[in-house]
Amino acid sequence: MSVRIEIPPLLRHHTNGVITAEVKGSTVGECLNSFAKQYPGTRKRLFDKNGKLLRYVEIYVNGETSYPKELARQVNDGDEISIVYLISGG
């Protein structure tokens, strides 16, 4: 299953400026893991030590939040995953 990941500004440093990536997986978790394998620098900005999604990262699939299922959320071929940082500005 091929899914497209939109890479946010904070992670582009670790993807050599690349802004989208094609990954394989049937859940959000599998897709993000495959992405982090391609770009190892992104792992600590996505997962905590136990492999859980960080508490300030939100994943959208085709514009809809995957919260609260998060990593367990199923994805389909051609879906688009967006990674958004929930940090408040101010």
Binding site: E6, P8, P9, L10, R12, H13, G17, I19, R45, R55, Y56, E58, Y60, G63, T65, Y67, P68, S82, I83, V84, Y85, L86, I87, S88, G89, G90
Partner: protein, 621 residues
């Protein structure tokens, strides 16, 4: 018939006249409330070119149409006036309970004019309003002032007041309520110039809503949406303290007076580090987020310092500009600013500027009362905060803000003054977050992030579209969208930090509160947002602003950014003119940055065409 009357209170400090006035239904429909009322009345009432610190300036304290209700995160309030720091518009937003109390007293806003002969405060209840002597209060800090007013008028009192900063006319003095501040653009100095120490309101919950039952259901929906929102949960946990790490890794945490994009040791000022000092939290009226995190210092030089905050901007203001990574010093400086009533952003930025002047030899120990302004010296930073608020020694000069300090010092000092239209730039580097940078340049209040915050660049939001944060004129539409969209949120003065519920219920809540059906029309709120920004633009055009002032500090246009390993190394603003051409074109303004007759007509501001026509011949220089 809507069946509810919205009104405001006018208080004239010169002649003591106090009176209520109804807000005409047409004005309600056209501007809805909050920021819409603020600019509508300021534009209408202020004689152009009035001295901001003179008797003729007006000071408007506005609550939003949803303030004081059970709806969440909508009880913030704002101040509208002409800024003594910039000479342009002042729009300054604050929190805590004061917005709700304005509504409980029965008003949408309080308009203060004239000047009291002696120090005074306004005491307002649901039935009475008096101008009282404040000689006893003059000189007190903001905490002591509020304590005094509560003792005098009872526990149900909420006050907005100034501290020594406002009394001493520090050009960037704040107005403080609880420990929340309307801090930007020098609104506290305007209050000080009127000899007005405080407005104290005694009132109990008492509101008229157009559709109370419908409103109740919508609030339920709002709370459910909010609670199910991960962003809300994280904001509740951390407030804005998580942002320094984010902006440092983006290379946009301005450091050493905006020469670098992050501190070398930024790991020392992350949210998790602040968490170690956290002892409590505070929230605004009817907001479950309680995002004000209270920090306390237990040992060392600053033992005993305690502050509600610092939030992101204040964390930056007392770390980035002078390259300081002592959290304890930052907490102490933040506390002083709130007590003394001065803006953390302008204070921190101006101090960073002074450090660079010292480095370049344009200020010496003789000028600084013996303080050594060497980068990293946080003790001197904390001393300067006190001196600025009291206008002591070097503080008297720095209290004027970077633009005037540069003018006074000369010798090329303006090259290091980091402001837009005279308002000191905040905690986002414009060269690494260019839509925010161009927002600083075009904002009608000067260098403010909150006038057109670029969530797309800082947080990776994809609405209305994704952006390349280093692109320039290609993102003119995004700058416009962000500015108009912020204005939409501020007709209801909804908190910018808690917006997960926004698309679902904001417009419905506004209708249920006010009965303005037009809000339901597709695109109407965006139309009002655009109208507000245009009216604000017209306000500053009338004050002499145009294309020439829509600019950024020299440093951003001529020096590359150094990010110390974060992305964006070498970025500069490549072509401001090209950006402005595109921005004005999309805005429907003349190439000189003046709203065209066609645009004014389209926005229902046709009555201003004559006002603006006299500026259309002006050519940018």
């Amino acid at each position: 018939m809507k069946g509810i009357t919205r009104k405001f209170l006018r208080v004239n400090l010169s002649n003591g006249k106090i009176g209520e006035e109804a807000i005409p239904e047409q004005v309600e429909t056209d501007f809805i409330g909050g920021r819409g009322f603020g600019i509508h009345y300021l534009y209408r009432e202020l004689v152009p070119k009035s001295d901001p610190l003179g008797e003729h300036n007006k000071l408007i304290f506005v609550a939003g149409p949803l303030a004081g209700t059970t709806a969440q995160a909508v009880s913030r309030w704002m101040v509208y006036t002409k800024s003594p720091l910039t000479g342009a518009l002042a729009r300054s937003v604050s929190g805590a309970d004061f917005g709700a109390w304005i509504k409980f007293a029965g008003y949408e806003f309080i308009l203060v004019e004239g000047k009291a002969e002696r120090p005074a405060y306004i005491h307002l209840t649901r039935d009475t309003c008096r101008i009282e002597p404040a000689d006893e209060l003059w000189g007190k800090d903001t905490a002591a002032t509020q304590e005094w007013l509560t003792r005098r008028h009872g526990l149900n009192t909420r006050a907005a007041c100034i501290g020594p900063g406002g009394e001493n006319l520090v050009k960037y003095a704040a107005i403080v309520t609880h420990r929340r501040t309307a801090s930007r653009c020098g609104v506290g100095a305007v209050m000080g110039s009127k000899n007005l120490k405080a407005i104290a309101i005694n009132a109990e919950r008492n509101l008229q809503l157009y559709d109370p039952e419908g409103f109740k259901k919508l609030v339920k929906q709002q709370i459910q949406t909010m609670m199910a929102n991960k962003a809300f949960q994280y904001h509740r946990e951390m407030g804005t303290t998580g942002n320094p790490e984010n902006t440092s890794e983006l290379g946009i945490f301005p450091t050493k007076n905006f020469r670098y994009g992050r501190l070398d040791d930024y790991e020392k000022i992350t949210g998790d580090e602040y968490l170690k000092h956290r002892i409590g939290q505070f929230g605004c009226y009817s907001c479950a987020a309680r995002c004000g995190k209270i920090h306390h210092v237990t040992k060392g030089l600053y033992a005993g310092a305690q502050s509600e905050g610092p939030e992101y901007e204040s964390i930056w203001a007392f770390s980035g500009p002078i390259e300081n990574s002592s959290l304890e010093a930052t907490i102490a400086a933040d506390q002083l600013c709130d007590d003394l009533g001065i803006d953390t952003i302008s204070t921190g930025n101006t101090i960073g500027f002074a450090y660079e002047l010292y480095e370049k030899g344009l200020l010496t120990k003789k000028d600084t009362d013996g303080l050594e302004l060497k980068y990293g010296n946080h003790k001197a930073m904390v001393e300067l905060v006190k001196k600025i608020a009291r206008r002591e020694g070097i503080g008297d000069l720095l209290a004027e803000g970077t633009m005037r300090v540069a003018e006074k010092i000369g010798k090329g000092a303006e090259a290091f003054a980091i402001n837009a239209k005279g308002l000191e730039l905040p905690a986002y580097e414009p060269r690494g977050s260019k839509s925010l940078g161009f927002n600083y340049a075009t904002s009608n209040i000067g260098g403010s992030h909150s006038y057109g915050y670029a969530t797309q660049e800082v947080l990776g939001a994809s609405f209305p579209r994704r952006v390349d944060r280093f692109a320039e004129e290609e993102n003119a539409d995004i700058v416009i969208f962000n500015q108009n969209n912020v204005a939409v949120g501020e007709v209801g003065i909804a908190c910018a930090f808690s917006r997960g519920w926004f698309p679902q219920v904001y417009d419905k809540l506004l209708i249920a509160a006010t009965g303005i059906d037009k809000i339901a029309e597709r695109g109407y709120l965006m139309h009002v947002g655009e109208k507000i920004v245009n009216l604000e633009r017209a306000f500053i055009v009338r004050e002499g602003f145009g294309r020439k002032q829509d600019t950024l500090p020299q440093r951003m246009l001529t020096e590359p950014l150094h990010t110390r390993g974060s992305p964006g190394e070498g970025q500069m603003i490549r072509n401001l003119d090209k950006f402005l051409d595109r921005y004005y074109e999309l805005r429907g303004w003349t190439p000189e940055g003046i709203p065209s007759s066609e645009k004014l007509e389209e926005l229902g501001l046709g009555y201003m065409t004559k006002d603006m026509a006299q500026y259309h011949h002006i050519k940018a220089t």
